[in-house]
């Protein structure tokens, strides 16, 4: 079936003015979710997607990012096409924990403007969108359901968590219904260049200016607007919409683009297991679960997080050769005197590890740590001096980690190592050091861009209110993980969809009021 009602921005006459009740910018998980909710309520929606139906380098070039922080390629896993990054995501779904939304005195800038209970019904609705079945993440019951045996962790110091996987490609899943919706205009290759107020003093957004790679331009007028372009592009668009407010829209508190967060992925520490290994392998791979798939992880429970004053921590296990880790310094920093003994102790094994790297036969389970990054205002997106092919400033990203991020993993490992020993299932080696300097070399992101338009009820401390509406505007909303004040360790898509449904409810209330 063809998406025959979708339009191509490249063919829209220059200067055209389109109208709708709501204009949604970005057809990824957030944008499509809000669009569906509004269409069902009978509103006329104009959905603008910067990409087409396939990957297009010319489109990608319009969202290139100048990276000036730690070694990081922010766009490697982002997709600019209908369906957005859900076109290749891992389908990994897990909700935030209640503690993740709390203001924690050991984490500056923490605290969501509402509690987990507010989000719960939207999580349940998001489960339906994502085809995940019941909203139930009890690891023990889940394991029992599929006959998996988990570690008997005490649940106080260390716990097992469960996540669900269902790789819903939003474009494929919902494209036919969107194409059939008579109250939708979906326009591909429509790249929004600016958000325009009625006038410089106004709080009402009147239109968005759209460009295409063909060079033509048009506008969309609507009663309300939703920006759902991803964690970097949302900030870029607000900052670049500076014709009427020189700092950019929503940037009254200099918060747009700040607090860029990733889920920090850092492989460190390993467990020498005591056989049998079947239990370990439940933590190392996805397993069939009802109609979807599940995965189990090792986590630090909320009360232990409070005691240790650390952020949210989760680790999955990755089977690897121990010798590969023994040679880490040799591969990354040259031979340190302390490594010579290691190399000489077993030259054949070490030689094989250097030659085969991580392909050598696995004998340990490395911890694939995925942690909540501490919100850091200096970790930020700004506008670059460089321009995209349409002459607009590119985003400039300075992703920064902090000592607290390092400490989270280190302290979590001390606890997990003791628990592994106490349960007599193996012994764990902590490969980080409790030194004063930040030591997270090799850390990567999970391609989760968060925090750059954070919610806060106080306009002096955030970009949007608790509904995702940009402060000091009446009809401009943001959707997506850029809203997250903190991130927990939860992969963000389930929360993105839940928040999008919540924002759609707020929008509908506003539209009904007129």
């Amino acid at each position: 079936m063809a998406f025959d009602r979708f339009r191509d921005a490249r063919t829209i006459t220059d200067g055209t003015r389109l109208t709708a009740d709501v204009c949604v910018v970005g057809a990824g998980a957030a944008g499509i979710t809000i669009t569906r909710a509004l269409l069902r309520a009978g509103y006329r929606v104009c959905l603008l997607e910067a990409g087409g139906l396939s990957v297009d380098p010319a489109v990608d070039a319009l969202a290139a990012v100048e990276n000036v922080g730690i070694d990081y390629r922010p766009n490697d896993a982002r997709m600019r096409l209908f369906g957005g990054t859900t076109n290749h995501w891992g389908g990994h779904c897990v909700p935030l924990n209640p503690i993740d939304l709390e203001a924690r005195d050991w984490i500056d800038h923490s605290g969501w403007p509402f509690s987990f209970d507010e989000l719960r019904p939207y999580y349940q609705a998001a489960h339906e969108v994502l085809g995940l079945g019941p909203f139930d993440y009890n690891a023990a019951e889940g394991a029992a359901r599929i006959g998996a045996r988990l570690f008997d962790f005490d649940g106080v110091n260390v716990a097992t968590t469960m996540s669900l996987h269902n790789r819903v490609r939003f474009g494929l899943e919902f494209g036919d219904a969107l194409n059939a919706a008579r109250n939708l205009q979906c326009i591909l290759y429509a790249d929004v260049s600016s958000i325009d107020l009625a006038n410089a003093e106004s709080e009402v957004v009147r239109s968005v200016s759209v460009r295409s790679i063909a060079g033509n331009a048009f506008t969309v007028q609507a009663r309300a607007f939703v920006i759902a372009c991803g964690g970097i592009e949302n900030a870029r668009l607000l900052l670049a919409s500076n014709q009427q407010r020189p700092a950019g829209l929503g940037n009254h508190a200099d918060a747009v683009g700040r607090f860029f967060m990733e889920h920090i992925w850092y492989e460190s520490g390993y467990i020498a297991p005591t056989p049998p290994l079947a239990t370990y392998r439940h933590y190392a791979r996805e397993v069939p679960y009802n109609d979807v798939r599940a995965r189990f992880q090792i986590a630090i429970p909320p009360e232990k997080q409070r005691e240790l004053r650390i952020s949210a921590f989760r680790a999955e296990l990755v089977e690897k050769p121990s010798a590969y880790w023994e040679t880490w310094h040799v591969r990354h920093q040259g031979i340190d005197p302390s490594d010579i003994g290691v190399l000489l102790a077993n030259p054949l094994k070490m030689g094989a590890a250097l030659r085969c790297r991580e392909h050598a036969a696995p004998d340990v389970f490395v911890l694939g740590n995925l942690i909540e990054q501490i919100p850091n205002p200096e970790s930020r997106v700004t506008l670059s001096e460089s321009r995209d092919p349409l002459g607009r400033p590119l985003a400039r990203l300075n992703w920064r980690l902090s000592r607290q991020d390092h400490d989270c993993i280190f302290h979590a490992h001390e606890v997990i190592a003791s628990e592994i020993g106490r349960r007599s299932v193996g012994r764990m080696r902590v490969t980080m050091h409790d030194r004063s300097e930040l030591d997270l070399s090799g850390a990567a992101g999970a391609s989760h861009h968060m925090g750059t338009t954070r919610m806060h009820i106080d306009p002096a401390r955030g970009v949007t209110d608790a509904q995702g509406r940009v402060h000091f505007t009446r009809n401009l909303y943001v959707a997506g993980s850029s809203l997250f004040p903190t991130s927990g360790y939860a992969n963000p898509t389930l929360t993105i969809v839940a928040l999008a449904l919540r924002t759609a409810d707020a929008l509908k209330r506003q539209l009904r009021r007129g």
Partner: protein, 128 residues
């Protein structure tokens, strides 16, 4: 617009995704490189290293003296093995872990008596 294109694009995207996420997840799933089995390697060097670190960082003078004496008495009965060293110590690893008696040696989080057993091996190797 062609839906098939989107499907193909999704497939291509999935490929990209695997490539992007592969560095994180798939490394453990690649075929084994022909090499000797690491599990078959003698662990003595690692144990000696742990023992040396314990003596250097976690054992006081009195503890070193006690362990040296114990190592000498074990040596009087022949070569010292890990089993023999462990058996000569009064507490077992599970009890240590339960009591929180753990030490960090060479990165390994061990029951104190495990580290002490390694220290006995180290001292015995130095004495023998």
């Amino acid at each position: 617009m062609d839906r098939r294109k989107l499907i193909l694009s999704g497939a291509a995207g999935a490929g990209l995704g695997v490539a992007a996420y592969g560095a994180i997840v798939a490394a453990g799933a690649v075929p084994a490189c022909p090499t000797e089995d690491p599990l078959a390697q003698p662990a003595d060097a690692a144990l000696l290293r742990i023992g040396a670190r314990y003596l250097a960082t976690a054992a006081g003078a009195a503890e070193k003296q006690r362990l040296s004496a114990l190592a000498e008495s074990l040596l009087a009965h022949g070569p010292v093995t890990l089993n023999a060293a462990s058996a000569s110590l009064s507490a077992a690893a599970p009890e240590d872990f339960a009591k929180g008696e753990v030490v960090l040696c060479d990165g390994w989080v061990l029951a104190r008596n495990e580290a002490r057993a390694c220290a006995l091996l180290t001292l015995a190797s130095q004495t023998a």
